[in-house]
């Protein structure tokens, strides 16, 4: 089963993007401490995202006529891999570049494409995605936020929560009910682009257990939306959301969230002169798992490049990948604690503590472990 996932080398023309990009990243990350770089795709720096856009590293899969690079998923893989491996702050453009732009390209009107895509590709239009609500987590079809047709537009009321980057974003693509009722489940939901700077929106940041405020709750209070707020078709929101999941679930970000810690610890054991077999085994086993996950992510990238939407395969990579990401801080913590008389740089320790604390989120965001396994089980013909 899943035999289409097979070793898929990065084409040389996409691999060639790597070294020029490194110089740009090195300049940005030179003075960032490890524990900030470990924030991975939650590190926010709008100026850096604009710099990436100017240099042509955003909108890689978007056609040139909309300001993109007209390249494919492999080019995007290389760029994302380099950014994450260095711990560059990518949050400002992350969701717009990964999900919103492909969604608008695929389902949007020509006017919407012209309006949003060039700005996303320049790193100037920041997006978040409004999915979860206080009563809707894994059971996403139970969303209660509602947009009623009003005049030729919409009147939006409701609340989103745990919305990543809502505080910094210009727009939210919100999944809301536009017709039918709760009993209709995933029928009658639509995706609307909400201007977060417009009247009727309140955004309140939520601080996480590590002291960061990367997510927020967002309230819509009798908010008037123009007719062209609708992306795609009314009532088709669920199908559209599902179609984009393969983009969201298979990328290097589902494998590399603990990479800064892993590489810093590898440097630490080298500096400490460790050559015992327990240390080498741990270094080797983590590296071996990473190697396989990287190739699995590339194998899904190859399916995306063929125009497929490998949602089940992507779920499989995400579940295995986030499990690895979560094991890294636990195993490295155990290793360092097994050498209580060995001095460790405070920067590495801060990185370890941060990643250890935030690691539970790795298998919550973008679909929980249990939901993903349910999707895989359905793909196996079990439901």
């Amino acid at each position: 089963m899943f035999e289409t996932l097979t070793l898929s080398p990065i084409p040389p023309e996409d691999e060639a993007l790597r070294l020029p990009l490194r110089a740009l990243i090195a300049e940005q990350t030179a003075n960032m401490p490890l524990d900030r770089r470990a924030r991975s795709w939650q590190g926010f720096d709008a100026a850096f995202s604009r710099k990436l856009g100017q240099a042509g590293y955003l909108g890689l899969t978007i056609p040139k006529e909309y300001g993109g690079q007209g390249r494919g998923p492999f080019a995007r893989f290389v760029v994302v891999e380099e950014l994450l491996a260095a711990g560059a702050p990518v949050a400002a453009h992350w969701i717009a570049d990964r999900q919103s732009a492909p969604l608008i390209l695929h389902f949007g009107t020509e006017a919407q494409r012209q309006f949003y895509l060039p700005r996303i590709c320049r790193g100037e239009a920041l997006f978040c995605i409004g999915m979860s609500e206080p009563g809707s987590g894994s059971d996403l079809a139970s969303v209660r936020s509602r947009a009623e047709p009003k005049g030729d537009g919409w009147l939006l009321n409701g609340q989103k929560i745990w919305t990543t980057n809502a505080v910094h974003s210009d727009y939210m693509i919100a999944l809301v009910r536009t017709s039918g009722g709760l009993a209709d489940r995933n029928v009658g939901l639509s995706q609307l682009i909400v201007d977060l700077k417009a009247p009727g929106v309140t955004v309140r940041p939520i601080t996480d257990l590590a002291g960061d405020a990367h997510f927020a709750e967002v309230f819509f209070d009798d908010m008037h939306l123009p007719p062209d707020a609708l992306v795609g078709r009314e009532g088709e929101g669920w199908r559209q959301v599902t179609a984009e999941l393969a983009f969201e679930r298979s990328g290097p970000e589902r494998v590399y969230s603990s990479l800064i810690l892993l590489d810093a610890w590898a440097n630490h054991i080298a500096a400490a002169g460790r050559s015992d077999s327990a240390s080498l085994r741990l270094l080797g086993s983590l590296t071996a798992r990473l190697a396989v996950l990287r190739e699995m992510s590339l194998a899904v990238t190859a399916r995306l490049a063929l125009g497929e939407s490998p949602v089940i395969e992507a779920s499989l990579v995400k579940d295995l990948g986030t499990g690895f990401e979560q094991d890294v801080p636990l195993l490295i913590g155990d290793d360092l604690a097994a050498h209580p008389d060995e001095p460790v740089e405070p920067e590495l320790l801060r990185t370890l503590y941060y990643v250890t604390q935030i690691a539970p989120s790795f298998s919550l965001r973008g679909g929980t472990r249990e939901i993903l396994r349910g999707i895989i089980a359905r793909g196996l013909g079990l439901r």
Partner: protein, 289 residues
């Protein structure tokens, strides 16, 4: 399969493989083979694992290619790859073995076997050395490990198919157990391990018959981890029937454990990879790209 495992004559089955021409699939064309790259032959080798073929067909395919590449003529009959002193899969039906002799590979006859699992896996008692040929240092164990990884990948894929089928057929509490979330979640993990094992084994094949120690380590580590998880989940889902002799699952899960333990399991290869990485001073991505 059961007859051969019980000590029956492997000759007729072996004769079919000999006639098929597959034994020389990896031998260069100028020497009468099919000249396939290892990566091209990988699905064949995995298929052998998926059917738990109780003969060293994959071993012999690789051994014949290595012998021809050393400008020698391969002997007729089953050859096993036996890189160390541990138990060798298929030793019980082997006539010849490739073993490590200093910095060389030696072709030896198999005088006797001390079995450890049925009549197949056992410790070789090597007989006369027929030939030695120089090869890269430590060259036999990596390619052997990659072969075991391919066999494991094929067997795990088959175990997944069998276990999903069983979960859909076996009814408890008034419905197929495959409808129970607790079972579904385990089968999802089994599916993940099946893909991971295949990708790991493919990484081992990307440099043909001379895999780097890093690629061999990634392949055999990943496949060995998958073998452990897959056998445990498959037996848990099958319940008692899975450990009965007459049900085919045991042919695959016993083989999986044998192949996992042959040519270094996950910890051996983790140490090799860790040593290689520590020596390179590369970050993760530069090491792996």
């Amino acid at each position: 399969m059961r007859a051969i495992e019980a000590g029956g004559d492997p000759g007729p089955a072996w004769h079919l493989f000999e006639q098929s021409g597959f034994l020389d699939a990896l031998v260069p064309e100028h020497a009468g083979g099919a000249g396939l790259e290892l990566a091209d032959a990988a699905p064949l080798l995995a298929l052998l694992g998926g059917h738990a073929v109780p003969l060293p067909v994959g071993d012999t395919m690789i051994a014949r290619a290595l012998i021809v590449l050393a400008d020698r003529v391969p002997p007729p009959g089953p050859i096993v790859l036996a890189a160390g002193a541990g138990p060798t899969p298929f030793a019980g039906v082997a006539q010849h073995a490739l073993v490590v002799a200093g910095c060389s590979i030696a072709q030896v006859s198999v005088d006797a076997v001390v079995p450890v699992d049925a009549h197949l896996t056992g410790r070789l008692v090597a007989g006369a050395t027929v030939a030695t040929f120089s090869a890269g240092r430590d060259s036999l164990r990596p390619i052997s490990a990659v072969l075991r990884a391919l066999l494991i990948a094929g067997a795990v894929a088959r175990v997944l198919d069998m276990t999903v089928d069983y979960a859909n057929q076996r009814s408890q509490f008034g419905k197929p157990i495959g409808k129970l979330q607790a079972v579904q979640q385990q089968l999802a993990v089994l599916a993940e391990q099946s893909v991971a094992a295949r990708i790991a084994a493919q990484i081992g094949c990307r440099n043909g018959l001379a895999p780097s120690s890093i690629d061999a380590a990634i392949a055999k580590h990943g496949a060995s981890v998958a073998a452990v998880e897959a056998t445990a989940i498959a037996h848990a889902v099958h319940g008692a029937i899975g450990i009965s002799e007459e049900f085919d699952l045991q042919l695959l899960t016993r083989a999986l454990h044998c192949w996992r333990l042959a040519d270094g399991a996950e910890s051996y290869w983790a140490a090799i990879l860790g040593f290689g990485r520590a020596a390179s001073e590369c970050g993760s991505i530069d090491l792996l790209r």
